[in-house]
Point group: C2
Chain length 199, copies 2
């Protein structure tokens, strides 16, 4: 609909996740009218990010050096390892300030429909991290959906014989949520996982 | 929350319209994991767009040369001029295939609250385009909101003495919409602008 490069920009923006044709158009016109400096900062950071950012060689979280800042932090415990699908999940858990151990980022979840099997995830690397026996609890924090659950059971079966504690994040009603609006599966899980109250 | 450049990228993305912190995070991680070629295409088009794209010297629509493709098109009529706020509006009207005249892009609407007065818009340029008398109808297609309406009345008063027909796009119920869900102002406008039906 637009002339040459404006349409090219809209097309490239539409390829980004969560941006539809209208959003892309809005961003394109914003950039056309923005300060040249703003656009340059964006292009620079896009270039730099691909050059500088890599994945931590130990846990596969994002890192600017060989290891990420969590793996490098001497303050964190070495006995608990939390397994997540994605670097975004590391960040989500960090925001809770609940966990002071280390992470392992799988890089996705087992999903036969999408052609993702155990070999496509960093599971071999996980097993090798567990082999020296320093880690005593494996906390599986894959997503509470079909593929995340499948990955959790796969890992549970795999590491079961290694004799460490394996736990899974609790499913249940979201805090501040409304029982009435909870879906059946969540509500069912909340029942199943109910905890005793002590007087 | 993230290390250096990843956070820089998220910050830059959050500055774009319609992208919040979560959307920015999602796009940043998409770009981190995307093909190097994809990211390069995006940075290239961002650079090129700022170098190549300018605004048509006649109508102020986006253009790759001195004039936009609508101003250059010999097939279009020279008697009707449609005034819009923004190049995006040109595109929206073009999609209807209803209008075969020329455009004039104001570059915004009069909005004292935002410090935008008539002098900040391309109104002088509009008046000079009207001065040779070739244009016989001015169609004011500013947005049907407070600032768009203010701009429309301002223009109507300004060009009134020039003796051309001035029209305004109809306001009313959106086609396919539901009367029940229309807001009062729209419904009021739909009443006010009702048309006679002929048997």
């Amino acid at each position: 609909m637009y002339e040459g490069v404006v349409q090219d920009l809209i097309d490239e923006l539409t390829r980004l996740p969560g941006i539809g044709p209208r959003g892309a158009q809005r961003i394109a016109f914003h950039l056309l009218q923005a300060d040249r400096d703003d656009v340059q900062r964006l292009t620079e950071v896009l270039t730099v990010v691909r050059e500088k950012v890599r994945f931590c060689e130990l846990c596969f979280n994002v890192a600017e050096g060989e290891r990420c800042r969590i793996c490098l932090d001497p303050q964190r415990g070495d006995t608990q390892l939390c397994v997540v699908e994605d670097p975004k999940d590391v960040n989500a858990i960090e925001r809770t300030h609940e966990f002071k151990g280390r992470y392992h980022v799988l890089g996705g979840a087992i999903s036969p429909i999408d052609g993702v099997g155990p070999d496509d995830l960093r599971i071999t690397e996980l097993v090798s991290r567990l082999s020296d026996g320093r880690i005593t609890e494996l906390i599986i924090a894959t997503n509470p959906n079909l593929t995340g659950e499948a990955t959790a059971s796969y890992l549970n079966r795999l590491v079961g014989p290694m004799g460490l504690t394996v736990s899974r994040l609790a499913s249940g009603l979201p805090v501040g949520g409304d029982l009435e609006y909870a879906d059946e599966v969540t509500l069912g899980r909340a029942f199943e996982g109910r905890r005793m109250m002590h007087a």
